[in-house]
Symmetry: C2
Subunit: 254 residues, 2 copies
């Protein structure tokens, strides 16, 4: 049995709590947060506290708070010989170097309050500063996911950046498309099969191979047409720079 | 039985041929193309010709060629009283106005040679210049798809533009992410669950609601970190303009 204490009460803490609670090899001994109201969302069956001097004993302390609070929170943990980890994509393991045993446990997924996540499919990127803790974190990761990767802080930062492209930016492109639909009395629904196929295609082709469209073809007339259709000047900029990038990638001149 | 003649031998022509051929209410009487080699891909069972003076009689002539060839090809069709349609997203119905009966049949999907498409899920956007042909095109569309929309040329142009955002641009973002993975000795595979969840989330939330990430939070430190990590200057530009657009959308100042 791996005993974990969760520090934090946000989305990631909540999702980790849920998957750990259902697992027979993991025991969540406590959830710690300064947000008393948010702690109520963790239910009656787990020990919770707002008091950092009353932290229970555990094998692993998981700090699941916003990036800029990690260091301060880590300083409040008194068990100096226990493994202390954070769950941030963009934060080096070094931030926990005041603790002798430190590590990272980064679930590479987007978490929302409203959606339940199947953790068995979530890549877990772990890192530890010694071999024994690396084995312990790998065991913890493998007990909830089939996709477990040992990555360095440098690699994790790169993944976090890549995730912004495939998730945050893609979602914003979908938002722009939904606005275009809206302005033309069309349901966003109509784009859904295309959005899905854009992803499904990647099972067979690399994104490099899968590229189509006017920029890929060097179809200048359509590119000009499209920029002309857009009303928002920032959306025009987005159209122009992405088209330029596609053309550069495939060696077409503007 | 609706008799159709297909003019063209590219991806869209081939996909339409396949779905029409399997349908009991549609007969493909002929495939016409100047590309003799490509015609061989349509098999032995259908009549094919490279000779535009030998076009067979059909109820609907479907011009599935590149946008800039539509007008010239339409001029070669001698059956002036038959319904002539094109399949282009970005081309007005007006381009066929030399023909008394004209229309559009636009399947809103990305077609590749390597991937089979389930047409029942492909939105078909149709348009005709008279009521009877509108009914005929709707019938043709409904015989292959459950998602049939009567849209104007103006709306179709907007959809074509929106499709560039959700398909072409999203795919390019995936390409940039795959390069970042590659440069850091990470498999692109690791991003797949996140890419999938980005789409799956839209079943529950609008893209506006689903937005997360550093730009959405106004996390200036991470934004600067990320731009610093990118090596390619065009990718830096993409990162900056998309982050700016997200911040504008949610009223955060840069």
């Amino acid at each position: 049995m791996i005993k974990v204490a969760l520090i934090g009460s946000g989305n990631v803490a909540k999702h980790l709590f849920e998957v750990f609670s259902m697992n027979e090899t993991i025991e969540v001994v406590q959830v710690i947060s300064r947000n008393e109201a948010a702690l109520k969302n963790f239910g009656e069956s787990v020990n919770t506290t707002v008091n950092f001097s009353r932290i229970a004993e555990a094998d692993i302390y998981i700090i699941a708070v916003s990036d800029d609070a990690i260091h301060a929170i880590s300083q409040l943990l008194r068990y100096k010989k226990k493994l202390i980890i954070h769950v941030s994509g963009n934060t080096s393991i070094q931030i926990l170097s005041d603790h002798k045993r430190n590590g990272v446990f980064y679930p590479l997924q987007t978490f929302s309050k409203k959606r339940k996540i199947d953790f068995s499919d979530v890549p877990i990127c772990f890192e530890a500063n010694n071999e024994a803790d690396s084995i312990l974190l790998e065991k913890l990761a493998k007990s909830i996911s089939s996709k477990v990767y040992n990555v360095t802080s440098e690699q994790r930062k790169a993944l976090h950046l890549a995730a912004v492209f495939v998730n945050n930016f893609t979602n914003h492109l979908n938002h722009i498309a939904s606005r275009i639909c809206n302005e033309n009395q069309l349901p966003f629904e109509i784009l859904r099969p295309l959005i899905r196929e854009t992803v499904d295609k990647l099972e067979l082709l690399s994104p490099y191979e899968a590229q189509t469209g006017p920029a890929r073809r060097g179809d200048k007339k359509t590119l000009e047409d499209h920029v002309g259709q857009l009303k928002n000047s920032t959306h025009k900029e987005i159209y122009a720079v992405l088209s330029k990038s596609i053309q550069k990638t495939y060696g077409k001149k503007l």
